[in-house]
């Protein structure tokens, strides 16, 4: 037997409470009763009824105040509220709707009308909840698919990298990929897409496919990014874009080529030396057909390390720190990292930067690479 739906009835008139209680219980509903606003709010928060019938004209805290407080409380905001009113003026009804009521019942009411309205709003509520749960399930699937697309160091033992990845929401906007371009050449790509919605996750899936198609030994790193940009300009919605960084490491020639598309600067830590930023300018990806990207080539040595990251690592909206300002303190977090194994560096850096705070304000990706 399914659980009975519970209805909270709020009215200062005892007779109205008893009358509605009789009607509801006869039809198998559980009636919760309150004859004043504060009691109604307490019961709503504790019992979380499926629906509330709320009288507007009550001494003390009236129905408008009650609904305002119910809609400001996370525990009760989703409960549909129907208000009971003896006043038929449009202003009163509109005020109720503005405050979040889903419908009203004019007093005096007939019990059958109360039942009919309760039924229809329970059905609507069930349908809405079902939609919400369905969307959440789909987002979880997107999240699982996104995670499945992100390579782990175990999948690429010769790529010499470690990573920290934490999306803010199910459909994250940050994304990275590792590309085996040839036996000696590895590509490291990190992008931050505008938005955190399902559309964004489709964009990241598209970029992953484009990387595989265009990051080959035939094309230079800059050419690869330009071709990916040309396609993204065509397929992304007008307001969507990505900032990205593509690092092309040839372990045979020991040349590292870096392409920047509006992304925070990479940190370079030559073996045994202090870390510094590689500052190169470049347009964002997916917005301009004639975009130009910053490029830098560096001769590297064994043990040199590179750190590519998304702005979530250094930016804080809550603390009003832009990523430009946040970078000022970033390099100090690298002190002594040369003595730490590559696999442990992401966790060490994250704990130094966030000081134990586990909740990011934005997606975070940190890619650590060793030559």
């Amino acid at each position: 037997m399914a659980d009975a739906y519970s209805i909270l009835v709020v009215d200062d008139n005892r007779l109205n409470l008893v009358l509605i209680e009789k009607v509801l219980t006869k039809e198998g509903y559980v009636a919760l009763l309150a004859d004043n606003g504060p009691d109604a709010r307490r019961i709503a928060a504790q019992k979380h009824p499926d629906l509330i019938l709320l009288d507007i004209e009550m001494p003390g805290e009236d129905g408008f105040e009650v609904i305002k407080k119910l809609k400001n409380d996370a525990a009760t905001v989703t409960i549909p509220v129907l208000f009971l009113t003896g006043v038929s003026e449009v202003d009163v009804k509109l005020k109720g709707f503005e405050l979040g009521a889903v419908d009203y019942i004019l007093k005096p009411f007939h019990p059958q009308e109360v039942l009919a309205r309760v039924r229809i709003h329970l059905k609507l509520s069930i349908a809405t909840n079902s939609l919400v749960q369905d969307q959440a399930r789909k987002l979880r699937q997107v999240s699982q698919a996104q995670n499945a697309m992100l390579p782990s160091p175990e999948d690429f033992p010769d790529a010499g990298f470690s990573v920290f990845y934490k999306p803010l929401e199910e459909a994250g906007g940050d994304f990275y990929d590792i590309l085996n371009i040839s036996k000696q050449i590895t590509g490291y790509f990190l992008a931050d897409s505008s938005g955190h919605d399902i559309e964004t996750s489709y964009a990241t899936a598209s970029v992953k496919a484009l990387l595989t198609q265009n990051c080959t030994p035939v094309y230079s790193p800059r050419e690869s990014m330009e071709m990916i940009n040309d396609v993204l300009v065509e397929i992304l919605p007008a307001e969507k874009y990505l900032t990205a960084c593509y690092m092309h490491l040839n372990r045979g020639t020991r040349i590292m080529t870096l392409v920047n598309a509006g992304h925070p600067p990479v940190v370079y830590m030559p073996k045994g030396k202090k870390p510094f930023f590689i500052n190169i300018q470049g347009d964002i990806l997916g917005m301009f057909a004639d975009a130009t990207f910053g490029l830098k080539k560096i001769a590297v040595n064994d043990g040199d390390r590179f750190f590519i990251y998304s702005d979530g690592l250094v930016e804080s909206t809550q603390k009003k720190i832009s990523w430009v300002a946040g970078m000022n303190g970033l390099l100090s977090a690298f002190d002594g990292l040369e003595k730490i194994a590559l696999s442990e560096i992401p966790d060490v850096l994250i704990s130094r930067l966030f000081k134990g705070d586990p909740i990011p304000e934005d997606d975070i990706v940190l890619l650590c690479i060793e030559v």
Binding site: L15, N16, E57
Partner: protein
């Protein structure tokens, strides 16, 4: 005003109609007392609240005459008018007596 009217209006049995009628009478006594005090103190707001309560509750049980009298009181008191309120009050008092008579089988 007869409690048996509730039977047909709400489609309930005599026993249930009697219980609702009893509750109506008790509530009405309490609300009339509030109106009486309001009239004495010149408190239009209290009169309005009590009349509003009578209007809704009696209408819900199908006592249209009572509901209309209460609506008149509510309308006048909300407009700050005290003229005629005393007569309306006595009119409701008489309907309450009739309800009490029907409940006690007289």
């Amino acid at each position: 005003m007869d409690f048996r009217n509730i039977e047909s209006f709400l489609n309930v049995d005599t026993n249930e109609a009697r219980k609702l009628g009893r509750l109506m009478a008790d509530t009405l006594v309490s609300d009339l007392e509030k109106i009486r005090r309001g009239l004495k103190d010149g408190d239009a707001q209290s009169i309005g609240f009590a009349a509003h309560s009578i209007k809704g509750a009696s209408g819900n049980l199908g006592f249209e005459n009572l509901s209309q009298l209460a609506a008149d009181i509510e309308m006048r008191s909300r407009a700050g008018r005290f003229d005629g309120l005393q007569d309306l009050f006595f009119e409701i008092q008489r309907l309450l007596d009739k309800l009490e008579n029907s409940l006690s089988g007289r």
